[in-house]
Subunit: 344 residues, 2 copies
DNA sequence: TTGTAAGCGTTATCAT
DNA sequence: ATGATAACGCTTACAA
C-alpha cells in the first residue's frame, strides 16, 4: 500500500516522525515545538536538537494532515468578477496583506456571473478547502445565499450589499459622491450630469443615490443620469448620451475610472474640450487616472483597506453573526486637470 | 477528543461514513461512486440510493483528508509581482481556465521581490498545499531556484527565462518586436528609438534584443534606447529622454502598454503631436490601449494563452524534466491611431 | 457486487 | 519534561 501513491502523487518529504526519531524524541514534542505551544516546558538542549534536525531535514509540516486534524485550512478564498480590472487588484492586494498577517493564504478566483461557474466553485471550495469565502462583485441573490450557507464556510460580501443581505462590508459610496459633487459645486457648476454603473450593481446604485442626495441637499436638479456599465465602452456610450441631451451640462460625475476613461474618449471624439467645455470627475482613483488626457480628477477611497477589513471581519467574527459595515476610511479628493470652473 | 476541535475549527459537515451508514453500504462504495471508479461494478439501484443520500445530506468530500491520502491537492499556485497590472490579470485568467479544466484550483499570490516575502511563500506553500508552482515575473535567481527545489512541488517560470533556467514558458517577444518594427518601416520610418523595460527583466531584454535584431536585419541603426521600468512613470521619463536626444526620432517602439501610456503623456506635455510628429507603438494589447489619446497601435500576444499553457505544462510534464518553451501563438498587429507615416 | 482494513501526517488529551 | 495513543476523513489493494 501507499506505494502507488508515492509514484502518482507528489513527492512526500520528511514527516514529523522522521524528525522525531532522528532527534530521539516523540512526535508530540516536535509538534509542540513547531507550533510554539506555550504550555510546553522543555529542556533547551532538546529544543535545540529538534530544531537542528528540522533544519537539517528541511522538514515542512504537511498542510493537509494539519487541516484534517484541526479543521482549519488557514486559507481563505476571494472571488472577484474580473482580474483585469485594477480596482479588484487593489482589493486583492489588501486582502492578501491581511491574510498574510493572519498567517493565512489567499485563494483568488474569478467568478463570472454564470450559474455554472458558481456551481463549479461551490464544488471546488467544498468542505475542508477554505476557512471562509469573500465575494467581491455582484451576482449574489437569495438562492445563492442559501447555496453558500449550505457550502459550509462562513462568507462575506465585499462592496456589495442589498436588501436582506446579512453579511457585508462596503465603502462609503454616498460620502464619496458627496465629495465629488461638492468639488463641482465649489467650482461654480450647477448643471451636472451623472454617468452611472450597471443597474444591477449596488455600488453603482449607492453612488447614484449619493449623487441625487447631494444634489437635493444643494437644492439643484440632478440633471441627466446616463447608464454605463463600469467599462470604458459603456462610459463612452454614456458620455455620448449626455452630450446629445437637450439640456446642456457643464460637469459630469462618473461612477468609476474605467467609465471615465471612456467618457474622456467620447468627449475627445466629439470635439468637446475637457475641462474647458465640460468638467469630468470620477469615483475611485487608479494609477491610470494620472496619465489620461486630461489627467483625471478623482475621489479616492481605499480599496486595499476594504480588502483588508473584509479578511479581518471574516476571520474574527462568529460565523452566524450579522456583519453590516460601512467602512469609515478617509475619502480624498484628488484634483488633477479634468475639472475647472464652467466657462462663463 | 475532537470535541474542542469542533468548536474552534470550522463546522464539519457530513462525512463519507454518514453517507455510507445512511445508505446501508460501506464507505468504500461511496468513495468509488464519488470518484467514478471505472472498475466499480455496482447495482444501479445501490448507486441511485447512495447518490440520493449524498444529495440529501449535501455531502462534500473533505479536501484535506483526500489530499492527505492521495498526496495531491488539486491546487496550483501562481505568484505574480502585481495584481494591479492588467497584463497579469490576463495571465491569471488563462491559468485559471486551464486549472479549472484540469479540475484544479488556482491559488494566486503577489510576490514582491523581497527576500522575506519569498521566505513567506516558501513557508506558506510548504508540503501538502499545492501540486505545483507557477512564477510569473522576475526575481528568480540561482539561490532561489535551489530554495524552490527544496520546497517540494514542481515549479515553472512564466514569461521569465535566463541563462541556466531549466523550466520556463515564454512568449515570442523577439517576433513581436519584429512585427512592430516592420510596421514602422513599412510606414516609411527609418529613425526609430526603443523604450525598454527594467534592466533585470528578461522579457524586456528579449524585446530589446528583438528590436536590435530587426533593425540590424533592415540595415538600420537602432538609434536611441531609453530605459523604462514597465510603469507609466518610467515610460514618461523614457520618452523625455528620447525627445531631448540629439538625434531626431520619428517613431518609438515601447516595450509595454503601461510605459506607452506614460510615453504618450510625456509627448503631450512636451507639445509633441502623436502620430503627426512621432509614431508610437507598443508591445502587448490591453483594453486601455484603445482609449488613450491617441488610441495606441499595439502588437498583441496572447497572455491568457501563456497562462493556460503554463498550467498545462506544469500539470502534465514530469517534475524533473526540463521545459523550455517559446509559445507559438498568433501575434497580431493592432493598428490604431498612434502610428502614421513620418511627416516629410 | 460489496466489504475489510491499513495508512496518509498531524495534534490533543491523558499518562508517566 | 516527555511519551503513547486515538482520531481527523478518505482511498485502494485485496478479500469475500
Amino acid at each position: 500500500m501507499a506505494d502507488e501513491l508515492r509514484s502518482r502523487g507528489a513527492r512526500r518529504g520528511p514527516t514529523i516522525s522522521d524528525v522525531a526519531s532522528r532527534a530521539g524524541v516523540d512526535r508530540a514534542v516536535v509538534s509542540r515545538i513547531v507550533n510554539d505551544d506555550p504550555r510546553l516546558r522543555i529542556k533547551p538542549s532538546t529544543r535545540e536538537r529538534v530544531l537542528a534536525v528540522i533544519a537539517e531535514l528541511g522538514y515542512q509540516p504537511n498542510a493537509a494532515a494539519r487541516s484534517l486534524r484541526t479543521a482549519r485550512t488557514r486559507t481563505i478564498a476571494l472571488l472577484v468578477p474580473d482580474f483585469e480590472n485594477p480596482a479588484y487588484g487593489q482589493i486583492i492586494k489588501g486582502a492578501e496583506t491581511a491574510a498574510t498577517a493572519a498567517d493565512s493564504a489567499l485563494l483568488t478566483a474569478s467568478m463570472e456571473l454564470g450559474e455554472e461557474s458558481f456551481e463549479h466553485y461551490a464544488k471546488q471550495l467544498g468542505k475542508g478547502r477554505v476557512d471562509g469565502l469573500l465575494l467581491a462583485g455582484g451576482g449574489i441573490n437569495g438562492t445563492r445565499e442559501e447555496h453558500l450557507d449550505r457550502l459550509g464556510p462562513p462568507w462575506l460580501c465585499v462592496n456589495r450589499t442589498g436588501p436582506g443581505r446579512r453579511r457585508y462590508v462596503v465603502l462609503d459610496d454616498e460620502r464619496a459622491t458627496e465629495v465629488a459633487v461638492s468639488h463641482l459645486l465649489e467650482l461654480g457648476h450647477t448643471e451636472l450630469a451623472f454617468l452611472s454603473g450597471p443597474a444591477d450593481s449596488d455600488s453603482a446604485e449607492r453612488r447614484r443615490l449619493g449623487y441625487i442626495a447631494a444634489m437635493d441637499a444643494a437644492g439643484l436638479d440632478p440633471g441627466f443620469i446616463a447608464h454605463g456599465d463600469y467599462t470604458a465602452d459603456g462610459g463612452a456610450a454614456g458620455m455620448q448620451q449626455i452630450l446629445s441631451a437637450k439640456r446642456r451640462h457643464t460637469a459630469v460625475l462618473v461612477a468609476n475610472v474605467a467609465s471615465a476613461v471612456g467618457a474622456l474618449y467620447a468627449a475627445r471624439r466629439a470635439g468637446v474640450q475637457i475641462p474647458h467645455d465640460m468638467s469630468v470627475i470620477s469615483i475611485h482613483d487608479l494609477s491610470i487616472a494620472a496619465y489620461v488626457a486630461p489627467p483625471l480628477t478623482t475621489v479616492r477611497m481605499s480599496l486595499t483597506g476594504l480588502g483588508a477589513r473584509a479578511v479581518e471581519l471574516l476571520l474574527t467574527r462568529p460565523r452566524d453573526e450579522a456583519i453590516r459595515e460601512v467602512l469609515q476610511e478617509p475619502i480624498d479628493l484628488i484634483v488633477r486637470e479634468s475639472t475647472a470652473p464652467p466657462k462663463s
